[in-house]
Amino acid sequence: MTDYLCGLSDHLCAANEGFVVDRVIGYRSLTLFFSGTITDYTDILTAAEQYRHEARSVTETSELIRLPVWYSEESGSDLLHVAQYCDLSVDEVITLHTETIYVAAATGFAPGFAYLGYTPEPLKMPRLDTPRRVVPAGSVAIADRQTAVYPSSSPGGWRLIGRCPTRLFSLDWDPPVKIQVGDRVQFYPICQNEFAALGGSP
């Protein structure tokens, strides 16, 4: 689905160059932003239909982004609860979380945030009933069958299992984010000392 939406997005933006002012890929949707008084939406719909019939499959493989995670009770306040809920040991949670290669199915919410799918079935977790008011920057979290790193401190309702010291957003980069839709991501475990050495904020 993500490959298809990336292809469709590129196709429609190329066909309407200069008129599409922004585009956002979601899990199951592509949203294009354009001026309704300049561009006619029916033209865009027609182009989307055409693309669907061509049904090209994109098999281009993107680079693998590897992100270090300090998994612990201290850095991920829900780690023990996740293990108990999923009937796994903490080590098994870490193994399941790190052995999977995720695909960024959507980005956004906050600068640098990427929705990574899909976590293994045994790690499926419901969201918190009441979101936390503050989730520390770098928190690695899971919810449903997704995982993500919170690039900056923000409210959040996902389950926290560790912290990642890697910067995911910077105004000095172009584009300003590390992970883009379609990118492949894999986590690997580090200890607290490595976390600090890699610049993780305490």
Binding site: S29, G36, G108, A110, P151, Q180, V181
Partner: protein, 319 residues
């Protein structure tokens, strides 16, 4: 170089321009001034390009001290304006010089007013815009609200003596936001309309809502609906300006400028921009109803609005 110093900062005064589109996918919110047309009018009256950065005031309350010589104009929610203590009409433009005090007093109705200053606020653009997003500490002056003592530089502008513009009556120039005690929000149906429980769709069309007091630049919260959409599967997808999101508690909120770029709650539709701008000026307790329109009708209304704005702008451009 022309500049001014903040003597009184008000509740929440921020630097705004037309905001940032093009980086929603990176999670960078659209942001920008809550009423781009009122900003454009204020800019036009002080001979700025329509998208020059202005000050957006929340419920009035601002005092600044002038260095140099420039002109100012206030549009949007009606406020008391005074130059060196003498009452002045909002539109102006008012020519001011070193030592002068520009005071924006109480805002009697509405929420946001826009102070344009000739030359435009000249803070460094961040990701293509000077707009402040306080939540992300982005843009404006250090990504924050203005504070007492801040000094802001202005861009180049023609000398004040050069402007041939004369004073105008604020009402006739259409520079004060129209404020209503009951708003009808016209919207186009969205993605989740078909999947939503019929009672929730009817509830949206037939209930009278009320603007909640915890509305802000991210979203306008409405109370009084209790819409149970019955949609449980939430797939994160893009949010748009005017998006009608219904969380599990059933009270809808309308997303505006500083919204988060993705949302996982059911989206019943999107309020057309013209009505959404009117909603941003609505104080807590304002009554709100919804009216569904077709995409074609929305397009037509957008065209009419663009035509109205163009005509008014041209009228103001006449010397």
């Amino acid at each position: 170089m022309n500049s001014f110093r903040i003597i009184e900062a008000g509740l929440s005064t921020t630097i705004q321009d037309t905001g940032r589109l093009g980086l929603l996918g990176a999670g960078i919110t659209q942001g920008g001034v809550t009423d781009p047309f009122m900003m454009a009018l204020a800019n036009t009256l002080v001979s700025n390009p329509p998208d020059a950065a202005v000050l957006e005031l929340t419920l009035g309350g601002l005092q600044l001290e002038v260095t140099g010589a420039f002109s100012v104009c206030l549009t949007g929610a009606p406020c008391e304006l005074a130059i060196n203590g003498s009452p002045a009409d909002m539109a102006g433009p008012h020519h001011v010089a070193t030592g002068d005090l520009v005071t924006v007093g109480k805002c009697h109705q509405g929420i946001y007013s826009f102070l344009a200053i000739s030359g435009g606020i000249d803070t460094p653009p961040v990701l293509g815009s000077r707009s402040t997003v306080v939540r992300e500490s982005l843009g404006g002056l250090g990504g924050r609200r203005l504070r007492v003592g801040d000094i802001l530089a202005l861009g180049d502008s023609p000398g004040v003596g050069d402007t041939k513009r004369t004073r105008r009556d604020a009402g006739s120039a259409g520079i004060v936001s129209e404020l209503e005690s009951c708003l009808t929000l016209r919207f186009i149906r969205g993605f989740d309309w078909e999947d939503c429980a019929p009672e929730a769709a009817e509830g949206l069309l037939e209930s009278e809502f009320s603007v909640a007091s915890d509305s802000n630049r991210m979203a306008i919260r409405l109370t009084g609906g209790h819409l149970q959409t019955g949609i449980t599967e939430a797939w994160s997808e893009a949010t748009c300006y005017g998006c009608i999101q219904v969380p599990t508690d059933g009270e809808p909120f309308i997303l505006i400028n500083d919204r988060q770029t993705m949302g996982g709650y059911p989206k019943l539709g999107a309020v057309i921009a013209t009505d959404c701008v009117r909603l941003t000026q609505a104080r807590a307790g304002t009554r709100v109803t919804f009216q569904a329109i077709t995409l074609e009708e929305a397009k037509h209304l957008a065209w009419l609005e663009a035509h109205y704005q163009e005509t008014l702008q041209q009228a103001l451009n006449q010397p």
